[in-house]
Amino acid sequence: MHRTLPAADQNRPAAPPTLGAVLPAGAARRQRARRLGGRRQRTFLQIGAPIPPLAWTGLAVLSFLLPFAAWAALAASGAVSQVFLPLPGDVVSAGRRLVTSGELAADTWASVRRIGLGFAISLAISVPLGLAMGAFRAVNALFEPVIGFLRYLPATAFVPLLLIWQGIGEEPKVTLIVLGTVFFNILMVANTVWQVPTELIKMARTLGAGNYRIFRHIIVPHTLPGVIDTARVNLAAAWNLIVVAELLAADEGLGRRISVAGKFLRVDEIFAVLAVIGVIGLCTDLGLRVLRNRIAPWSQE
């Protein structure tokens, strides 16, 4: 590209227009004053900045307290009928009633058993298959396309089929949990294997490891924390399915309790059962997190 430049500019490129040249003098001075030394960074609003531990605790408490206070205020204000929005006290007494009658324990056990069994089956399928898909391209090519398709089918859409195939016993409820979680589990486990640096695998091969030992010494230890995290995420999905699962002619279960309470407009009972589900979820999540940090403290950094 050729361009004729004025003689004076032959050796020096033209200076770019500065703010001072563009703006009036006063405005340029203010502009400069604003730029010099940068702007003070506010800890709480700086992306990724750490916050003091006390602030963390305070915010964590607020995270529960704010919605609770909003609910209590709204219910107490009378703006919404108590038929639709019970007072916190009513929910506590509904919960107490369910506990003393033994229904809550029976329901909880029924739901936990179904989710536990369904999720265990889901993991028993997805961990080996996901590891194999992550490690071998051929296995991945065979399964990934069909799983990519299946995972988009809503698990709840299988309910009529499950009733036809498996009747109204425990089986369709457990199968629904399996169907609703297994495809996500498989793909997420495969993904943890893809996160293993290829150099670790090459290194092991140069030290004489075959496939079995690469799995045992590299892939399994490296993916373990990721597999536990996968379980944490998808266990929540299992709880999402329990209400639908227990619509299928269940006698007991937390999901069943919610749908029965709904029929009788027992909103306080629904709230109580929801609280129980939330607490169970929080506890298992915490438990899995502790387990992960115990067996793979290196992955916390």
């Binding site: 091969r205 140069t206 030290l207 004489g208």
Partner: protein, 256 residues
């Protein structure tokens, strides 16, 4: 123990998104048993691919790579490989990382302990044997990786830009360390690097590669005595060699 290496008319092609890429073409080189040889070249000259082939992790498209006259068919305990990224197992301690290759070879626990202790001593990390990799600096991590590669007593040590991620001071001390390891063990060393001064300071010979496709452009003999000190880096002869190799690489850049 140390072994010789030979590469004969070696070519390597990849197919990337349907397109054929020639990584290496007509490579001929030879490394004597116990020699320290470096390969320098700009990125894309296939130097790391050649190292992978020597390690047995990849197969050439044509030609052959030989160790002591026998074709290299796959990875083996006769060759140790060290990467720039250290590639340590974060869940293992320093000693357990060094022991990995010995474990895989089925060595009994007691012998393994002695061998690990010996190589921890060689790399100066005895005090850190129970530390985790995350507690170590970059230079220390690379020394663990070198100890791990040395522990199975390979006849050839292959280094793929081993000090590329280290700061200047650490790099300089690692150079002294590597020279002393080489003199102590007598292992054949082939190092791939893009640091010309590093190649000159450490090696007996330097192969300068050209890129696209990767070829041997020139073989440069480094005439310095085996006993080398950092003062060597300020000798006029050192500068001459550096300028010569750098101009070869620069001509390469200009041609690209």
């Amino acid at each position: 123990m140390s072994a010789s290496l030979e590469v004969r008319d070696l070519s390597k092609q990849f197919v990337v998104r349907g397109r054929r890429v020639v990584a290496l073409e007509g490579i001929n080189l030879a490394v004597r048993a116990g020699e320290f040889v470096s390969i320098v070249g700009s990125s894309g000259c296939g130097k790391s691919t050649l190292l992978s082939i020597l390690a047995g992790l990849e197969q050439p498209t044509a030609g052959e790579a030989l160790i002591e006259g026998r074709p290299i068919l796959g990875p083996g305990p006769d060759r140790g490989l060290v990467f720039q990224s250290y590639s340590l197992l974060p869940w293992r301690t320093v000693a357990q990382n060094v022991a990995l290759g010995l474990e895989l070879s089925g060595m009994d626990r007691r012998t393994m302990r002695d061998v690990v202790d010996y190589y921890l001593e060689v790399v100066g990390l005895t005090a850190w044997r129970d530390a985790r990799p995350s507690q170590l600096s970059g230079g220390m991590r690379q020394r663990v990786a070198i100890a791990r590669a040395l522990a199975p007593d390979p006849e050839v040590l292959l280094l793929d830009e081993p000090f590329g991620a280290l700061d200047a001071q650490t790099k300089a001390s690692m150079h002294e360390f590597l020279r002393s390891v080489w003199q102590r063990t007598g292992t054949t060393i082939v190092m791939v690097t893009h640091d010309v001064e590093e190649a000159i300071y450490l090696s007996e010979r330097v192969y300068v590669f050209s890129a696209h496709p990767g070829r041997v452009r020139e073989e440069v003999r480094i005439p310095f005595a085996p006993e080398r000190t950092p003062a060597l880096r300020r000798e006029p002869e050192f500068f001459d060699l550096r300028d010569r190799i750098q101009s070869l690489l620069a001509a390469e850049e200009a041609a690209a």
